[in-house]
């Protein structure tokens, strides 16, 4: 991207497209070009640990899977037109040396910057020896070593001698939390977790005897389920965790040895050393110089560290209206948080561009389905050479001739590339000319190409479900390259099995369900309100159901964010906007009493006092929040000097003389968190306590402030608070779970005080602190949402928080469509992250609400109620609540399918003892016919 001109709603973006010298429409990614290319260069994707060719795929899963020529290294470009090997051997004629750079001007309404991060380069840091000691590598290099597609094919080897290491060390905070020149003071936030993961996976590769040790300052596993992972790594996998500061790495032993000695200061402050075979540097994240310059050119303000500057209240908006930022460009963060931000950014764009929605949409039309589909099967079989990918191993003409003799087959062809534009046309013509009513393609995998061929036959007037694949490339030619004859036999068998199923295929009509365009949001806190505004601003009628008598939730306690923004003003504004919005209706003192239905068609009864209100809506967002634990330890509830969370700052706010008279205050962290009965981190307590400590210390420098902690988890840019607190003289004392602090009442000079006994973590001696007030950072606990979860048929995790569909990739969805989650109900998190998740939930919800009707994959279960005996095994076995028993007059109970909830897995069908349930497109008779077709030939071969 070169530039962005214009303003929100009307930008012109100039994009420079470099030539790849490969025609994307023609390239089939067979890889012959790279095989033939004589020029080897360092493979950046494998961190330089392996080589690639000058024509290459960046990585095996690249999308689109198309090769590109690296002109900086290609012989043709270096030696004026020589070589051309790729052009000569490409079976698809895809090489095009005439391509030139193109400049595109794109008109858009908004822009999202998701440019990611650069990994910190430790080369300039001589104490770690990176670059001079071959077995000191970065975490990115180690990732590649562990990968099956990496330089050593997933075998755990060290670079110097390719021997499997017996001892591996990870050093944390390389380039992060480090004030040296060229390093960063912020915490990169992701390295603790990835180092643990690498250590655990290394053990899986290298066996039990592999010794792994992680050298760290604070273990920051603050995400959902992360502390459990940390616990398991230590207790089950046996990863060693060494709390330390590393001084340097030296070559160990004699000159022949490539082993490494780590010199470090342990937790008792003593110098120690240990020898390892391999050292992995857990390098942090940073924003490249190039990106900083681009941001400057675009007029995007950056924070002091080079990340996009955003407000806690508008977390994906950059300083330039209409341009949004998400992912690591807006601060160090992990995958779930990046994915949430990306959805949040799309919601911000959708709100901005709501008026012009669908103005550029084009509707595709299809010919009506020909009634010949109901006649006797007339099957056409198309066998693909895929260049030489299939044709080089399998005898494709022989397979074609074999297919011609199979029952019901009336047309066969073999094609160089069945997926190419012209062959698609040939298939459509063949369908018409030969009155084909079933099509089988023997080529690659249905996972990538089934949709394409279904579309082709649909354009030819056939129902898309009258198509069947035979995967003779990925699961035949490619995996039996040295046995062409047997691969050909297998291809014939596969084609026969597919033709047999094809004869039994039946047309399936699309499942279109009416879709309602209203949203229901349960919970009127900051998250619920933010989601509501994003939806209402797009024109969707939104209901907020709040159990309390007023909106706001816990956000009212957030006086200031950690960045110093005014939380109260934000909340007042938010509540005002919600109340004034004509598309939002707020129901206070209200509870959900009944709920039924599914995506696009929910029916909910909301009870307010004695009145009931029925609401019909298309989606649900759960934003029910969580609450702080009321502890039963440290004299909480017994001594009024012991408080929790915001109670102390609220007391000082109300009665300023209290802080004036106080000599010392203490905070105890992890009260009820990270303990056996609640083994998770509440994530924002460290930041909250530090904010208060800094505030108190700033107001009254002579006040003694102690923070008694286990690990300080000020992840990301919040680390600056930790630094500032130490500069201000806040005293940090670490305790461990087996030696928790003890709090007692005491009287000093006639004044009531608290006495805290805790062991000093460096000196190892007991300390006795006398403080006026103690503030407890207690666990954030779920509200007990079992009833709601059951009503909605969505799961809770072991800790009682709502469990999303996928921890990383679907962080606001449930496996049940049309229901989304955000805020503390999902997991403890700071306000800005709740708002991100709320916007993400709104984006996901809007993608449903905008549709005229909900289109459900129609390959669902069908119940034959005549056969059903109402045993209910299907209902018990269905993981999605898509089959249930209904009362049929005079017959008792019978199973009924709810197509909108069905995922087509077929567990119900397998469980049904009466065979009363069958799956569309995967019917018993279709699968059994394939089984028999696959087996009979083998039997015949045995008898020969």
């Amino acid at each position: 991207m070169k530039s962005i001109e214009g303003e929100a709603g009307n930008f012109t973006v100039t994009v420079r497209e470099r030539p790849r010298y490969v025609d994307m429409d023609k390239c089939i990614a067979c890889g012959i070009c790279a095989e033939r290319c004589p020029r080897k260069v360092k493979d950046e994707y494998n961190q330089g640990l392996a080589q690639r060719k000058a024509i290459y795929l960046q990585y095996a899963q690249a999308v689109p899977l198309k090769y590109a020529i690296d002109a900086d290294n290609c012989i043709y470009f270096k030696k004026k037109g020589r070589c051309r090997a790729c052009e000569k051997y490409c079976p698809a004629g895809a090489i095009d040396f005439t391509q030139r750079e193109k400049i595109h001007k794109i008109k858009v309404g908004s822009v999202v910057l998701s440019t990611g991060f650069k990994s910190f380069d430790p080369s300039g840091y001589d104490i770690y020896g990176y670059g001079s000691l071959p077995n000191v590598i970065t975490s990115m290099e180690f990732e590649r070593i562990l990968s099956a597609s990496g330089p050593f094919h997933g075998h755990l080897q060290r670079p110097s001698d390719k021997q499997p290491p017996q001892k591996i060390a990870w050093l944390q905070c390389i380039g992060s939390r480090d004030l040296h020149a060229g390093c960063h003071e912020y915490c990169s936030g992701v390295c603790c977790m990835y180092a643990i993961k690498e250590a655990v996976i290394a053990k899986e590769h290298g066996g039990k005897d592999l010794d792994t040790a992680i050298f760290f300052m604070d273990m920051r596993t603050h995400g959902k389920e992360f502390d459990r992972y940390y616990d398991r790594a230590e207790k089950e996998a046996g990863v060693r965790f060494i709390r330390s500061r590393v001084h340097s790495i030296e070559r160990a032993g004699g000159p022949d040895s490539d082993d490494l000695k780590i010199i470090y200061v342990g937790k008792d402050g003593r110098r120690q050393e240990e020898v390892f075979n391999l050292v992995v540097l857990s390098t942090g994240v940073e924003i490249s110089e190039e990106m900083r310059n681009l941001a400057q050119d675009l007029g995007i303000e950056l924070d002091i560290y080079g990340f996009a500057k955003t407000s806690s209240f508008t977390p994906v908006a950059t300083s330039r209206p209409g341009i949004f930022a998400c992912g690591a460009f807006a601060g160090p963060k992990d995958i779930p948080q990046s994915v949430m931000e990306s959805s949040a950014a799309s919601s911000a764009c959708a709100v901005l561009l709501a008026e012009s929605r669908n103005t550029l949409t084009q509707q595709k039309t299809y010919p009506p389905e020909d009634p010949i589909i109901h006649e006797e099967p007339r099957i056409g079989v198309f066998v693909c050479h895929c260049g030489i990918n299939i044709g080089g191993v399998v005898d494709v003409p022989a397979v074609r001739d074999y297919a011609e003799k199979l029952p019901n087959v009336v047309y066969v062809a073999d094609n160089m590339f069945t997926c190419s534009q012209d062959t698609q046309g040939l298939i459509r013509d063949a369908v018409k000319k030969n009155r084909l009513n079933r099509v089988v393609v023997a080529a690659c995998t249905p996972r990538t190409h089934e949709a394409l061929f279904q579309e082709t036959i649909r354009e030819g007037g056939l129902n898309p479900y009258l198509f069947e694949f035979a995967n003779i490339r990925d699961q035949d030619a490619w995996v039996h390259q040295k046995e062409p004859e047997r691969a050909t036999e297998k291809a014939k068998d596969m084609v026969r099995m597919s033709v047999t199923k094809a004869a039994l295929l039946e047309p399936i009509e699309p499942l279109l369900l009416e879709n309602r365009h209203e949203a229901l949001i349960i919970g009127g806190g900051a998250a619920g309100m933010t989601a509501a505004l994003d939806l209402a601003d797009q024109g969707f009628k939104t209901f907020i159901v709040e159990r309390d008598g007023k909106l706001g939730g816990h956000a009212k306690h957030v006086k200031r964010t950690w960045k110093g923004e005014d939380g109260s003003a934000f909340l007042t504004d938010l509540v005002g906007r919600v109340q004034a919005h004509e598309q939002i209706e707020v129901l206070l003192d209200a509870e959900i009493s009944r709920l039924s239905g599914f995506i696009g068609n929910f029916k909910t009864t909301v009870t307010t006092g004695a009145t009931e209100r029925k609401i019909e809506h298309g989606i649900i967002i759960l934003a029910v929040g969580a609450e702080p634990l009321k502890p039963v330890e440290y004299l909480y509830g017994q001594n009024e000097r012991v408080m929790k969370w915001h109670e102390l700052e609220e007391l000082f706010e109300k009665e300023p003389e209290r802080i004036e008279q106080a000599e010392a205050v203490a905070f105890i962290q992890c009260v009820g968190s990270r303990e056996p009965e609640r083994p998770y981190c509440s994530k924002f307590c460290c930041t909250s306590s530090l904010q208060q400590a800094i505030d108190f210390k700033t107001r009254k420098p002579e006040l003694n402030v102690y923070i008694i902690y286990r690990d300080i988890r000020t992840y990301g840019q919040r680390e600056q608070l930790y630094k500032k607190a130490r500069e201000l003289g806040v005293i940090f004392i670490r305790y461990s779970l087996d030696e928790k602090p003890v709090v007692e009442d005491t009287l000093i000079d006639g004044k009531g005080k608290l006495k805290i006994m805790v062991r000093d973590h460096i000196l190892g001696i007991p300390l006795e602190l006398q403080v006026d007030y103690l503030n407890l950072a207690t666990a954030i606990i779920p509200r007990g949402d079992e009833k709601l979860a059951k009503m909605l048929k969505v799961p809770l995790n072991e800790d009682g928080f709502f469990l999303e569909a996928h921890m990383k990739l679907r962080p606001v969805d449930f496996a049940t469509d049309g229901i989304f989650v955000c805020g503390l109900a999902h997991y403890p998190k700071p306000l800005e992250e709740s708002l991100v998740q709320a916007k993400a939930a709104a984006a996901r919800a809007a993608s449903v609400l905008i549709k005229e009707s909900v289109e459900v994959e129609p390959t669902v279960s069908v119940v034959d109620q005549g056969k059903c005996i109402g045993c209910g095994l299907c209902e018990i076995s269905c993981p999605f609540g898509a089959v249930h028993l209904v009362q049929v007059p005079g017959q008792g109970y019978r199973a009924e399918n709810i197509s909108a909830l069905c995922k087509g897995c077929g567990i119900c069908a397998a469980a049904c003892p009466q065979k009363a349930i069958d799956m569309r497109h995967f019917r018993d008779r279709q699968i059994l016919a394939m089984v028999e077709a696959g087996g009979s030939k083998l039997q015949a071969a045995d008898n020969e």
């Binding site: 095996a60 249905p446 990925d474 490619w478 897995c905 077929g906 397998a910 018993d924 089984v931 009979s936």
Partner: protein
């Protein structure tokens, strides 16, 4: 029972579309080589596999049945 050292079992595989089938495709992309004696059937979940499919597979001449998902 006759022992045949060159015995190669003929295997019927039921592969879940979302994992095992994708895994078999990845084996192809990675050019991992294995004996061509396996015949696979794609299902949308290994939970779809009715015990009858397994017994039918054995009756149809397969030596073993592999359910992966």
């Amino acid at each position: 029972m006759e022992t045949n050292k060159s015995f190669e079992p003929k295997i019927l595989a039921f592969l879940c579309n979302w994992c095992a089938y994708a895994g078999a495709d990845l084996a192809g992309v990675s050019r991992l080589q294995y004996p061509p004696t396996i015949r696979s059937i794609r299902v949308m979940c290994s939970g779809r596999v009715d015990p009858v499919y397994i017994t039918d597979g054995l009756k149809s001449g397969f030596d073993s049945v592999f359910v992966s998902g």
